[in-house]
């Protein structure tokens, strides 16, 4: 065990040891620490193998920003070992390993690195045959490159979602975020402060820069990762399995910085840690990270690490100073370590750093702490519209954000020093208060501008980024990209960063460029002789940090609607099918399906059938201008429609294409009851509201689709069935003619009854309040030998009559003329939607028509979308096809060129099996062309 005594180890509870397994071996840690720290305490720095070359890798920053710490925990892949706490019995294993972590059979691939040049994806695996990629290369590369192991049988707890509202969301509870949140809370704002860590404080938790007390008067969310900024300050915060959707009046992004790696040969060896990581291990977890350290102090943070190492009694063999650190001379002297001017040129070791080279001198060590500077955590700010710039004079990256309501504070805003970050946080908090319209907190005006950070000029060391002739100087650890790879990508002609990214895959790994983007920008800028700011970074998109798909998916909800008669259908053995959101009976009864459907059709043609039409759209249009309103919306005349009459409704769009149909019953001078197709009612309802917003007619529209149920009673015996039921409606032919409607009571149920003829037989459609529909259904069924029929029989019945289904037989361009429905288009009305286009299109001539096609009995292989051929060339297609039980042969509706539309024309169709068959254009209906069946009763 390499543990330090208290006060080191602020986060661990030494009284609660926890045992878990790593690679099958028992490991003991303490409650409160992460998998990575518990392993480091065992001297286990190597956590994974790299993606491409299978090189040994360990943690670098221990801040949840890297791919090298991804491990498998039980069935859960890609767990960040530097964020996930240990728990009793966890089974942790390394990823991307063939064999064991220590002896990876595929590690030899690194020896062939020079045969895997940048962009090798695009040019290496092309041969020897055309199928080589699919059959040979891809399976092998997948086996090598997979991250983690997915267990399809594993069950994870369902993600939950919550909503959170606040005046101010502060992301990041470091010095700046805490200062901002506390100031705003004191000023009366409702503040939420979220941080990825288990406690607020950020870098204060592991640096000697002062302790944070628990903030008061605000809501603190720990272990909470803000993964995205979306429009109007809507942010996603993932906390455990919970996805919070936060709507904030103001947002302060105090997201800090990301420590950048140093670039030199073998800079990826385990044991090479950031200055922050060294301090985290020592101060938070009481872990002695090694026995002999070297510190690369490109910035003063290196000295912080050296001081922590010294305090933990870990010998610092050397402090490597690539440049002087003015103002820190006394600290350096006090460290009593050898100070070497220069940089790290190379590291060496097997599975862990064993020595580093400065110039031509090798220094042995098992820990190298590097401090070259931090990148502002640009992901969230850039999602909110910030642009990344580069202050060449100060040698650091800057962010600029002008969006009202979003503020940057602290390191991410260029104020990295402790006092400066706090002052900048207070400035941001004050700005948020002002924007919220709250009185400014009791602060001096001086905080309007943050003080200059004395170390600002030292915040970033611009390390040289020349390729090492022997390579292995990694820029992107996720994708194993070396300096030369990026230089070569530019040499290949990819000058723009987004192209370099796509060609080289830089920044595409799990860490999304957090450690590589800035170095890449510098390499590309240098190679193309441009400014770093001109090159920039790749577009930042949500999520800023990895999210589990399960968190996003949460509960699965499928909107589903049932009619009031659903239980009746089930009791009758209906085969229920989804139709949009609705469930409808497709057919009733078991056994031979075609036979059942044929029986249902025959029942309607010869007796009486009952169909649940509750899914139809039902709209009530009320007001003095109701008739005028329908006149403008539909193609037929409704203003002159007498009360008690039913009229067909055909709706066009402004392009003159048919979009919906239904019927309208005039209940009173100022009231219509209008139906629409099942799928279109939402759109029709919305269109009615839009049109009337423009017309300003005195009407209102109520959508009664769910409130009313509908029963269609159809067949020669329909009248006999209804007449047998008690009620006050006279269903006789004289009293209740075709295309009229009556309101009354049937079997004790108030109904709106309409005599319409979708099936072609004598039909009454009874609409009633949904809650009373089962009683009405039962009464009708009890009236004797009524056969319920389903959707398929209904479709056949209407096809036999040549009736179209909007959407099934029509497309986005179908005009009434093409559909043979000119009869439904008023020529007298001065206006209706689509009138002008219909007339213009009529003048252009009709090029195609929808016609009924009758095929000889025995014709096989017909189906929807079968092509109509003219001179052997596709010229149309079938839209509806059925074997008519009534007629005994296949019938269809088909789009054909206008020249083939005359009844009697023989039309050629290619069947599904490729056979060419012929059918004849029928008149407007296959069945009962004279419409005599409407009056046939038994």
């Amino acid at each position: 065990m390499m543990r330090l005594p208290a006060p080191f180890g602020t986060r661990i509870d030494r009284a609660r040891p926890v045992t878990f397994r790593f690679e099958g071996r028992a490991v003991q840690g303490f409650a409160g620490e992460t998998i990575a720290s518990a392993l480091a305490a065992q001297g286990q720095m190597m956590l994974s193998r790299s993606f491409k070359y299978h090189r040994p890798r360990g943690a670098f920053g221990l801040a949840g920003a890297e791919a090298n710490t991804l491990v498998q925990v039980g069935a859960e892949p890609n767990v960040q070992a530097d964020l996930r706490n240990v728990a009793e019995g966890l089974e942790v294993s390394a990823q991307n390993v063939a064999g064991s972590l220590a002896f990876d059979r595929t590690a030899a691939i690194g020896l062939f690195a020079r045969f895997l040049p940048v962009g090798f994806y695009y040019r290496t695996f092309m041969g020897p045959s055309r199928q080589a990629w699919l059959r040979f290369w891809e399976p092998r590369i997948r086996a090598l490159a997979g991250l983690g192991r997915v267990d399809p049988a594993a069950r994870f707890p369902e993600g939950e979602k919550g909503h959170l509202h606040c005046d101010l969301l502060v992301v990041g509870a470091g010095p700046a975020g805490l200062a901002a949140a506390e100031l705003a809370a004191r000023g009366g704002a409702d503040v939420v402060l979220c941080d990825v860590g288990p406690e607020p404080g950020g870098t204060m938790c592991h640096t000697p820069k002062g302790a944070a007390g628990p903030p008061e008067g605000l809501r603190v969310m720990t272990g909470a990762t803000c993964t995205g900024w979306f429009a109007d300050n809507w942010l996603s915060v993932v906390q455990g399995g919970m996805l919070w959707r936060v709507r904030a009046g103001q947002v302060i992004l105090a997201v800090g910085g990301i420590e950048q790696p140093a670039v030199f040969r073998n800079n990826d060896l385990p044991g090479i840690l950031s200055a922050g990581a060294v301090q985290r291990l020592i101060r938070l977890y009481g872990v002695m990270p090694g026995r002999r350290a070297v510190v690369l102090a490109g910035t003063p943070e290196g000295l912080d690490a050296a001081e922590a190492l010294t305090a933990a009694a870990i010998p610092v063999a050397a402090i490597v100073l690539p440049r002087p650190l003015p103002g820190h001379e006394a600290r350096i002297a006090a460290l009593s370590a050898e100070v070497i001017s220069g940089r790290i040129d190379e590291a060496d070791g097997r599975g862990r750093v064993a020595r580093v080279r400065v110039g031509n001198r090798w220094i042995s060590c098992d820990i190298l702490a590097v401090a070259v500077g931090q990148a502002p955590a640009w992901q969230l700010p850039c999602q909110a519209g910030a642009t990344l710039g580069h202050d060449t004079a100060a040698g650091r990256f800057t962010l600029r954000l002008d969006r009202p309501g979003v503020h940057l504070a602290g390191t991410v805003n260029g104020y990295a020093g402790h006092a400066a970050a706090i002052a900048d946080g207070r400035r941001a908090g004050q700005a948020a208060l002002r924007a919220l319209g709250l009185p400014a907190a009791d602060e001096p005006a001086a905080i309007e501008t943050a003080p200059k950070d004395p170390d600002a000029a030292l915040a970033f060391w611009h390390q040289p980024l020349a390729p090492d002739p022997r390579g292995k100087d990694f820029v992107d650890f996720d994708e194993d990209l070396q300096v030369a790879d990026l230089v070569n990508a530019v040499a290949e002609g990819y000058r723009e960063l987004e192209l370099v990214k796509r060609f080289s895959t830089v920044g595409m790994g799990p860490s999304q460029g957090r450690h590589s983007a800035l170095a890449t920008a510098r390499i590309v800028a240098e190679a193309t002789a441009r400014e770093v700011a001109e090159v920039g970074v790749a577009t930042a998109r949500p999520p800023a940090m990895p999210e589990a798909l399960g968190t996003l998916a949460g509960h699965g909800h499928t909107a589903e609607r049932r009619t009031a008669l659903h239980a009746r259908h089930l009791a009758l053995g209906a085969d229920m099918r989804p139709v949009g959101a609705w469930w409808r009976p497709y057919l009733y009864g078991a056994g031979d399906r075609a036979a059942r459907i044929a029986e249902e059709v025959a029942a309607v043609r010869g007796g009486v059938g009952l169909l649940d039409v509750s899914t139809l759209g039902k709209l009530e249009v009320r007001g003095p201008d109701a008739g005028e309103f329908l006149d403008r919306l539909y193609t037929m005349a409704h203003g002159t429609q007498p009360v008690g009459r039913v009229r067909y409704c055909l709706m066009l769009n402004e392009m003159g294409a048919v979009v919906d149909d239904g019927v309208a019953l005039r209940l009173a001078d100022d009231r219509f009851y209008v139906t629409s197709t099942t799928g279109a009612v939402a759109r029709v309802y919305a269109d009615m509201a839009l049109w009337n917003a423009q017309w300003g007619l005195r009407v209102d529209v109520a959508n009664l689709t769910g409130a009313f149920a509908g029963l269609n009673i159809t067949g020669p015996r329909a009248r006999a069935v209804l007449a047998a039921l008690p009620g006050d409606i006279d269903f006789s032919g004289d009293a209740f003619p075709y295309l009229s409607g009556r309101c009354g009571v049937v079997a004790g149920v108030p109904v709106r009854a309409m005599r319409i003829g979708f099936t072609g037989e004598l039909s009454y459609e009874l609409h009633c309040p949904a809650s009373l529909a089962p009683a009405l259904w039962d009464a009708v069924m009890a009236a004797g030998e009524v056969r319920p029929y389903g959707l398929e029989a209904s479709r056949i019945l209407r096809l036999e009559k040549g009736h179209i289904l909007i959407g099934q037989d029509t497309d986005a361009l179908s005009s009434p003329d093409e559909l043979g429905m000119a009869w439904a288009v008023s020529s007298k009305k001065p206006f209706f939607v689509g009138k002008r286009s219909v007339e213009m299109r009529r003048r252009l001539g009709v090029a195609r028509r929808l016609v009924p096609l009758a095929f000889p009995a025995g014709t096989r292989g017909l189906g929807e979308s079968c092509l109509v051929l003219a001179d052997g060339v596709p010229a149309g297609h079938l839209t509806s096809v059925a074997l008519s039980p009534t007629l005994g042969h296949p019938i269809a509706l088909a789009w054909v060129p206008a020249g083939l539309a005359m009844p009697g024309t023989r039309v050629t169709v290619r069947a599904r099996d490729g056979a060419v068959v012929t059918g004849d254009v029928a008149g407007h209906a296959f069945y009962d062309a004279g419409n005599t069946r409407q009056e046939v009763q038994k």
Partner: protein, 84 residues
Amino acid sequence: MKLLTCPLNGPRNIDEFQYLGPLRPELSKDAPDAAWAVHLFRAENRPGPMVEWWRHTPSNTVFLAERHTVTDTVLRTWLPEPDA
């Protein structure tokens, strides 16, 4: 998620709304066919403020919104005046 202010119901999440297209000037009945075709099929898509029809779906409130198409900022929303 974007917020849109329904003139009747106040600011609501954008997923409660339906976009119904830009407000277009009415075309004279005497306009030639070609002008009608342009009216129907050519969307100007001009950068800058644009007035659009929107609908708050749960309340079926149709209203107008002026939105800057470059910044995606909604400048104002209002109910149409019935031309009584």
